[in-house]
């Protein structure tokens, strides 16, 4: 906890009522006019970033929550608004990242954003209402509709290109093809069920999601996982990050028809996955992180196996980075392609390598930070160019950083239990007694960026009332539209792969 509350929290504390059942960040209940005021404050305070916007319930009893984060320091905070009139003042005009989230809230909860920037549906695909793509005017423009069914086996999404010859004038995304109703599924689920569901929101981020969920549950029940569990969780999270970054680097190069990198990165990624299976019993480490700790301990010989993997990866990724750096025909494709301005990355609060390749230093492991990273020194690589090349290089840097983190995590692995029971009671004085609902939130750095999980538990502390997992892709997908502008059509796959946003995590 910082000594001085940030300006954001001071603002919220002044205008709202603090909800003590919410942990670890404060949540404030705002009145309607204060919500409007908050919107204006967002417009004038560029460093108050919107990191989540979701609703619960439906008319007539509904509520909207907005997670905010003050870059100057301090904890993030949540602002809430009761919506008895099934509407809420829109903040999309001040924070463009909120626009699609507001459209989603209307689709899922029937709450109407007032004066929205965009009033079209987002997740609902109603055949009776043809979707209105944004109009584009100009001479000799033509459309290229791509997807949702693609020539390769990839996730579904529709991309509407408007081009002048080969130059992209506008790209508009249409997502929601893999909406599965995960949030509804989570309502009323037991903690065990919910942990399994959240861990499967986006398969490539299984650890990050499970970790965010576990941390949110632990925050709500005021449980502190044992130190050994924190270390093992971090170990898994870093393995997942390495595996995905390797896969991404290979796939990006493959999109430039440089199959060599794809093959080599594929091999190394497979090494990571097999080590994960040998050590934790699952290639993607699903269901390994559970509320209260981790499901499986790591033995001496398994730790040695991870160390051997790390040594191999250190050597091999250096070699691959050299190949990437020296392959002129590849550099020719990636350098300067799909440049994303740092201004936009900041405005949308884009997390992960996308933000960090466009000079945004945000990393949830550092700020707000969580165990065991708060006890460790590690560099967060940052680049300024914001092009495909920067996003590839950043992945190489992050692999290096993760490898050294794993080495230190193994070296400093504390002894002790790896799982502790959730304390359903034990609230400090002034806080609610054990008979009330509790709320928890967690922000965890997955390989794509910051994964946010917010939840409300029933009074028994074992049932999920409402859980909202927010994928980092929400704030990255819109930026892809900006990054591709002015590029040529055949460079889109490169840009897209270098973003590698999640469809499953976004559509829920």
């Amino acid at each position: 906890m910082p000594d001085q509350p940030s300006r954001l929290i001071a603002f919220l504390a002044r205008h709202g009522r603090c909800q003590p059942q919410h942990r670890p960040w404060p949540r404030y209940q705002l009145e309607r006019e204060d919500w409007v005021l908050l919107g204006h404050s967002l417009a004038s305070n560029a460093d108050w970033l919107l990191i989540g916007l979701w609703a619960e319930g439906g008319p007539p009893v509904a509520r909207v929550h907005m997670a905010l984060f003050d870059e100057e320091g301090g904890l993030p905070a949540i602002a809430s608004l009761e919506c008895p009139e099934s509407s809420f003042p829109s903040v999309g005009w001040a924070r463009p990242g909120a626009i699609r989230l507001e459209r989603t809230i209307r689709d899922l909860h029937g709450l109407t954003p007032l004066d929205p920037v965009d009033d079209r549906p987002w997740l609902i695909h109603d055949p009776a209402l043809p979707y209105r793509f944004l109009p584009v005017e100009g001479y000799n423009l033509h459309h290229i509709p791509v997807g949702p069914v693609h020539a390769g086996i990839i996730e579904p999404g529709h991309f509407r290109f408007t081009c002048a010859g080969e130059t992209v004038v506008r790209l508009e995304e249409r997502l929601g093809y893999v909406h599965k109703g995960i949030e509804q599924l989570l309502c009323g689920a037991s903690l065990e069920q919910a942990a399994r569901i959240v861990g499967r929101v986006s398969g490539d981020s299984a650890v990050a999601y499970a970790l965010a969920f576990a941390r949110a549950v632990e925050a709500a029940t005021q449980t502190e996982a044992p130190p050994r569990a924190h270390h093992i969780r971090a170990l898994m999270a870093e393995l997942e990050r390495i595996a995905n970054h390797l896969g991404d680097i290979g796939a990006i190069c493959n999109d430039a028809a440089f199959a060599f990198m794809h093959a080599r990165c594929g091999e190394l990624r497979e090494d990571v996955l097999r080590t994960a299976e040998a050590c934790f019993g699952h290639r993607l480490m699903m269901d390994c992180v559970v509320p209260g700790g981790v499901a499986a301990d790591i033995t001496e010989d398994k730790a040695a196996r991870v160390s051997a993997l790390v040594a191999k990866l250190h050597l091999q990724t250096k070699r691959l980075a050299k190949v990437y750096d020296q392959e002129a025909s590849l550099q020719d494709r990636t350098v300067g392609t799909g440049a994303l301005s740092s201004r936009l990355a900041h405005r949308f609060a884009a997390g992960g390598f996308i933000g960090r390749a466009s000079s945004r230093t945000f990393d949830a492991r550092v700020q707000p930070g969580y165990a065991p990273y708060d006890q460790m020194e590690f560099g967060v690589p940052m680049l300024t160019e914001g092009d495909v090349n920067a996003r590839v290089l950043l992945r190489f840097h992050e692999i290096e950083s993760s490898l050294s983190l794993i080495e230190r995590l193994i070296a400093s692995l504390p002894a002790g239990p790896v799982l502790c029971p959730l304390t359903a009671t034990g609230a400090p004085t002034g806080a609610p007694t054990g008979n009330e609902e509790r709320e928890g939130v967690a922000l965890v750095e997955g390989f794509r960026g910051d994964v946010l999980v917010w939840l409300r538990l029933a009074a028994d502390g074992k049932t999920v009332r409402r859980c909202h997992p927010r994928d980092p892709s929400w704030f990255q997908w819109p930026l892809l539209e900006a990054a591709i502008n002015g590029n040529i059509v055949p460079d889109f796959p490169l840009c897209n792969k270098s973003f590698n946003c999640s469809y499953a995590g976004h559509d829920l």
Partner: protein, 318 residues
């Protein structure tokens, strides 16, 4: 007697180019896979693929006209004819009088024109995209090819392929700077014409980056088989043409014994295999070029060709 020999050789060549074409494509794929430390699909897989495509039902878009159905046959026949004209293992071909470089280029251009029309016919955006890119590449590759033809005709005094092959093999052509430059230009043109990396990626699934594949996305069944076969034939054709112009040793000439012809056949197959391996190595070492950088590559090819023409023209013997 001579007529019968020539007829037999012509039939053999016509059948062989078709029979070997899928194998060559399979070989390139296999070598590429091995270079990536993969096991690689068997070379014969491509033959099974063709058999599968031929068995399958053809699905045609509702708004396709007769042109769409005609194009595969047109393309296949034009390329097959062209491939059977190039002297591969013997110059004693029945159709040798027609085996002219200009005629060859005309046949291939007709095939390309047909394919582009077929791609435009169904009116999908990818078809249009592919056709426009193919035409852009063709418009850059053809001048370079023209320069190569000029060099060769200045050197050998004819564009008649059997005569060129004979002349080249007897005059130590590879020692000529201008011929070497023309050969480099030919490699670049061939890569573009056969839709290989760095110009096009034959293995991609990314619709937006495709050139040749984008044009044939809507084809299926036997139509697709014909177009793919034409693609494989084109690879055989360009490798054979390169060999015929720049490494013509081993090709049996007039008054060759049956043994010479058999030797020529063996040497040709070896040349094709070596060419396939070199192509696979080249493709593994390079990323695909950005679309508009192709002008630089093919422009370079044109310059090589131009330089060789000038050298040939000015210095005569260089």
């Amino acid at each position: 007697m001579e007529l019968i020999t020539e007829g037999l050789i012509q039939i053999a060549q016509t059948a062989l180019v078709l029979a070997l074409a899928p194998g060559l494509t399979g070989l390139v794929r296999w070598v590429k896979a091995r270079l990536l430390r993969r096991r690689g699909t068997p070379i014969l897989q491509v033959y099974s693929d063709f058999a599968r495509l031929l068995r399958k039902k053809v699905v045609v878009a509702h708004n396709a006209s007769w042109l769409f159905r005609l194009v595969p046959y047109l393309v296949f026949n034009a390329v097959w004819t062209a491939a059977s004209l190039v002297p591969t293992f013997s110059t004693q071909l029945l159709f040798a009088p027609a085996a002219d470089l200009i005629a060859l280029i005309a046949l291939l251009s007709s095939a390309r024109f047909g394919l582009a029309l077929g791609a435009l016919d169904i009116g999908t955006s990818f078809g249009g995209l592919g056709a426009s890119r193919e035409m852009m590449i063709a418009s850059l590759a053809e001048p370079a090819m023209l320069m190569i033809v000029f060099t060769v005709s200045l050197f050998a005094g004819t564009t008649h392929l059997p005569a060129v092959a004979e002349y080249m093999s007897q005059h130590q052509a590879f020692l000529q700077v201008s011929v070497l430059l023309a050969a480099i230009a030919m490699v670049i043109v061939s890569l573009a014409e056969t839709a290989r990396i760095p110009v096009d990626n034959p293995a991609t699934h990314l619709e937006l980056t495709m050139v040749h594949e984008a044009m044939v996305l809507e084809y299926s069944g036997r139509h697709l088989a014909l177009i793919e076969a034409a693609g494989s034939l084109k690879l055989v054709l360009y490798l054979s043409l390169f060999c015929c112009l720049f490494v013509p040793w081993g090709i049996a000439h007039q008054a060759a014994t049956p043994l010479d012809i058999l030797a020529g056949l063996g040497i040709w197959v070896i040349k094709l295999a070596v060419g396939a391996v070199l192509l696979a190595v080249l493709e593994t070492c390079l990323a695909k070029m950005r679309l508009f950088r192709l002008a630089d590559l093919l422009g370079g090819g044109f310059l090589f060709g131009l330089l060789s023409v000038i050298l040939m023209f000015v210095f005569g013997s260089l």
